[in-house]
């Protein structure tokens, strides 16, 4: 059995959020991933972000494809509906779900195999349409469930555990995301909770397509010396552009940073992102500069993390299509059916 229920008893003194919920209320089943898997840290970060956002769990739907990463939604938010779909097709399921009900928050969880290979097309088109969702790739450069084959995000310079070399160049999902118009593009590392948690909070508050490429080492198949997706490598080569603080709507916090290093980004919902730039010359609203910076640093073997790109327009698919503000799934079918009175003139046109 791979479904392990967590015990429900917990300490009464656990901290509660505005909804009166504890972090435990945002947890899911016991993880069955390998001990030390980066994905479990991302799961913890998602739980923390949802707790801090005071999110009613039933207002979020979690959607995934196939693979280790796509199993992860079982391990968080047990009060949310989840949909573990087929390999590489999470974006289309999410598109349909979002069309049906624009009022929920959609959290898509995928992996590098699920997104960069079999699902590349759906990933691209969901971004092109500015689907309002948060799309997290738990990126470990390999296929874990089938015992460690290279994935398309594995760097060419990064050999397998058995020493086989990787023949092909890596696909950088973050660069693709910027190029195809994702409104919010961030990269983080499963080992950097301080960076990851506010990034998830901000992404989930963004109205539009928010993409997070989270490097998440596979402890079993891709954490060896020479791997560019290992804990040691990413810690040693993490080129951090900026640190984020997420400030929910109607909340103001004082931050003490050196003049000129912090900028404020407003989200349409009223929340703010405080961006503490470690590289003061970097402008995350400039797509060309973003791609240039990522590529230059990549050539030096560095992994660029932080808020890579941000489009303040926050236009989503519903706005583009001109659909009703009402959730389509809440409209009674009787209201959607035009009735016999409208059929008579239509019949006349067919004569």
């Amino acid at each position: 059995m791979s479904y392990i229920q967590k015990p429900t008893a917990f300490h009464p003194a656990l901290k509660k959020n505005k909804l009166g919920l504890t972090r435990r209320d945002y947890e899911g089943a016991m993880s069955t991933l390998c001990a030390g898997c980066g994905h479990d840290s991302i799961t913890a970060a998602i739980i923390e972000a949802c707790f801090k956002l005071d999110l009613p769990a039933h207002r979020l739907a979690k959607v995934s494809g196939i693979g280790c990463s796509s199993k992860a939604p079982t391990y968080f938010l047990s009060r949310s509906h989840g949909f573990n779909s087929v390999h590489g097709r999470m974006p289309s399921i999410t598109t349909g779900a979002n069309l049906a009900n624009r009022d929920l928050i959609y959290l898509g969880v995928s992996g590098d195999g699920d997104t960069a290979s079999i699902g590349l097309s759906q990933f691209c088109h969901a971004m092109r349409r500015q689907l309002n969702m948060t799309y997290i790739v738990m990126n470990n450069g390999c296929y874990g469930l089938t015992k460690g084959q290279f994935s398309a995000t594995n760097d060419k310079t990064s050999p397998s555990k058995k020493g086989e070399s990787n023949l092909f160049e890596a696909i950088d999902l973050a660069q693709i995301a910027i190029q195809l118009g994702a409104g919010f593009v961030g990269r983080s590392f499963s080992g950097d909770k301080a960076q990851l948690v506010p990034m998830i909070e901000a992404a989930m508050s963004y109205n539009g397509f928010a993409f997070l490429d989270v490097i998440s080492p596979c402890v079993t198949f891709n954490n060896h010396p020479g791997s560019t997706k290992s804990y040691d490598y990413v810690r040693g080569h993490n080129s951090v552009l900026d640190k984020l603080d997420f400030v929910p709507a109607e909340e103001e916090i004082e931050i003490d940073y050196a003049e000129g290093t912090t900028s404020e980004v407003d989200l349409h919902g009223g929340a703010k992102i405080h961006l503490h730039k470690l590289d003061t010359g970097y402008d995350p609203t400039n797509a060309d500069q973003a791609i240039n910076t990522i590529r230059t640093r990549l050539n030096k073997g560095e992994v660029t993390t932080g808020l890579l790109y941000f489009d303040g327009r926050e236009q989503d698919l519903h706005e583009t299509l001109g659909t009703s503000e009402r959730a389509l799934n809440q409209i009674p079918i009787s209201e959607l059916c035009p009735g016999s009175k409208n059929l008579a003139p239509i019949n006349d046109r067919f004569r």
Binding site: M1, S2, Y3, P56, A57, H58, R59, A61, V63, P73, T74, S78, R79, S80, H81, G82, F83, N84, S85, V86, R89, P91, S92, I93, T95, G96, A97, L99, A100, N101, D103, L104, S121, Q122, H125, R129, L317, H318, L321, G322, T323, S324, R326, L328, N329, I331, I333, S334, E335, L336, C337, P338, G339, S340, N342, L343, I346, N347, F350, R351
Partner: protein, 601 residues
């Protein structure tokens, strides 16, 4: 054989030349004169420059199947003169553009020449207009030849160009040019001609795709995702057009969400996501698209997600004949996807049923929590059919199936997503966002228990699969019933058919009866089969199964799923991509019955 209100006219043109709208006006005029017509568009998979035909059977008796033998060929394409001439019956007529004179080698065919290009060149300066109005000139010529009521024809032209009034005058001019030329040069009308009737009262002339798209609007579909593919494209476009007319808020926002997907995989994925989230959703495609959708169909079957899939079938296998018709996806849809899957199929017989079945499919999909595949085809979908006008009962309550509200969830403490509480195999589902603490579950295509939790316990998984079988049996009891035509209770000859073959089967039965062979018929409307299918088989000794595929796919399904003896079922198969003729069926059943009679004697 041919005569008044009983003949076939065929227009041989070049595609992209604007002939389609002229041809439609011709058919519509006869329809408005009260004469049943069955136009068939025989078109290439091409945009411009290849041969295309529009074949119109005119039948005062209401026989709407195709009929071989052309009485009047309007030969407007020099590329195909030779073959077009061959199709004309002895004693028939061929009208052609004699601007470039041609010698035709059939003394038994009357050649009617008219210098159409020259006439248009003399009247219009613009080359595009010269080309376009040629079509109306030949319509005018045919109107004179077969005695079409000019007032009705002019009325059709006026309604065709309603809103583009500037076009009415030159079209009428072209019409009269053709008509006047023929009247001045030939004895009119021909023996094949029309007289007004009232056989189209209460009827409409419409295509199945148009009607199905409208049916989806009436069925309450609010999400549509699709990918362009012939011959299903016009179904999605019809939905969009009607939804834009009927589903707009006052502020101009749409009460429907429509996405042209990147491929068929995404199209059905979007439909599944929306169905899972409580909206009525559909996609429309044809055979190649269904092949791509197979993995997702298995997921929707196993995870029990409602959606409607319109399969407007075309000629296969592979890319096959994209612009020809077939019924060759019966088995691939009945069992689409790997593993033990089976799907609910509906078989509309004409555009009217495309409308009613489209609307009904959404009720069935939500009641059964499974994909419902509406099996139309190119003939029904893209050709205009004379059929009953569309009807909607305002007392109809759309069946949302077993969906729990927050209050109902609270009252059901032992709820499990896949727990069969009622014993009909249909379980209670919850829509995301319904309840703050209850009713959440993890939808998955992996093996699961009654609570939707992953399990590797094979016994538990087998129980879920067995329940799905129970649900499938429930489906058989609520699907549209087969339609029987019992002409003689004592006859042991039966015909089983479905879909577009109805006109051909009905006419063949009449001709067989004329020859003393009385057959009864059963039209299958849905799969899984209702009890009545088996009962019909029990009541007949020889059953002819009429279908448009090579493998006798419905026959195979009847053997396996209705447990009908193989020896009883005799295939009548046509798979050349053209709608079946009554003669094709009559000849085969007639021959088989004479053999049976001789053998019995």
């Amino acid at each position: 054989m041919s005569g008044i209100n009983d003949f076939v006219v065929k227009f041989a043109t070049v595609n992209g030349s604007g002939s389609a709208s002229a041809n439609l006006m011709f058919a519509k005029t006869l329809f408005r004169m009260g004469i049943p017509v069955s136009p068939k568009n025989i078109f290439p998979s091409n945009i411009q420059g290849l041969p295309t035909w529009y074949e119109v059977r005119v039948s005062g008796d209401g026989y709407l199947a195709r009929r071989d033998g052309i009485d009047l060929m309007v030969a407007m394409n020099a590329q195909t003169y030779e073959n077009d001439l061959k199709q004309v019956v002895s004693g028939g007529y061929l009208l052609y553009d004699s601007t470039l004179p041609r010698k035709f080698t059939r003394p038994d065919v009357t050649i009617i020449d008219m210098p159409i290009s020259k006439m248009c060149a003399e009247h219009w300066a613009d080359t595009r207009q010269r080309q376009l109005f040629k079509n109306m000139v030949y319509v005018g010529a045919v109107a004179a030849l077969i005695d079409i009521d000019l007032g009705v024809l002019e009325g059709v032209v006026a309604s065709q160009f309603k809103g583009k009034d500037k076009l009415i005058e030159p079209n009428l001019k072209a019409l009269h040019m053709g008509r006047d030329y023929i009247q001045a040069n030939y004895a009119c009308p021909l023996p094949i001609k029309v007289t007004p009737g009232n056989a189209t009262d209460g009827k409409i002339l419409v295509s199945g795709n148009e009607a199905a798209g409208l049916g989806a609007v009436y069925g309450g579909a609010s999400v549509c995702a699709w990918y362009p593919i012939t011959p299903s494209t016009s179904l999605a476009e019809s939905y969009e057009r009607h939804a834009k007319a009927l589903r707009m808020q006052e502020d101009g926002k749409k009460l429907f969400g429509m996405v042209q997907a990147e491929d068929e995989l995404a199209a059905i994925g979007i439909a599944i996501g929306a169905g899972w989230n409580g909206a009525r959703s559909f996609t429309a495609t044809s055979g190649p698209g269904v092949s791509l959708m197979n993995e997702f169909l298995g997921l929707a079957y196993y995870a029990e997600v409602p959606l409607v899939l319109f399969n407007v079938q075309r000629g296969g296998p592979s890319t096959g004949m994209p612009t020809r018709t077939q019924q060759s996806d019966v088995l691939s849809c009945a069992y689409a996807s790997h593993g033990d899957t089976r799907h609910v199929l509906l078989f509309p017989t004409d555009p009217t049923e495309c409308f009613t079945f489209a609307a009904q499919a959404f009720d069935l999909a939500e009641r059964l929590q499974t994909p419902v595949i509406v099996m139309s085809d190119l003939d029904i979908g893209m050709n205009d059919w004379v059929c009953d006008e569309l009807d909607w009962d305002d007392a109809h309550v759309h069946d949302r199936g077993k969906v729990l509200s927050a209050e109902e969830l609270d009252a059901m403490p032992d709820w499990g997503r896949y727990k069969d509480i009622d014993g009909d195999g249909i379980t209670y589902r919850t829509i995301p966002g319904t309840h703050p603490t209850k009713g959440a579950f993890f939808t998955r295509g992996t093996s699961h228990d009654e609570s939707a939790r992953y399990t590797e316990d094979g016994v538990v998984n087998a129980q879920v699969m067995d329940r799905l079988l129970t649900k499938f049996q429930t489906a058989a009891s609520i699907l549209p019933k087969p339609v029987s035509d019992i002409r003689d209770e004592s006859s042991r000859i039966g015909i089983i058919y479905f879909g577009a073959n109805r006109p051909a089967v009905m006419e063949a039965m009449d001709r067989l009866r004329d020859a003393g062979v009385v057959a009864n018929a059963l039209r299958i409307t849905a799969f899984p089969f209702a009890e009545e299918v088996r009962a019909f088989a029990d009541d007949h000794d020889r059953i002819y199964v009429v279908e448009q595929n090579q493998g006798g796919q419905m026959r195979q399904l009847l053997m396996v799923e209705a447990d009908i003896q193989r020896a009883k079922l005799i295939s009548i198969l046509n798979y050349d991509g053209m709608p079946m003729t009554a003669e094709f069926i009559r000849a085969r059943i007639g021959a088989a019955e004479s053999h049976a009679k001789i053998a019995a004697e």
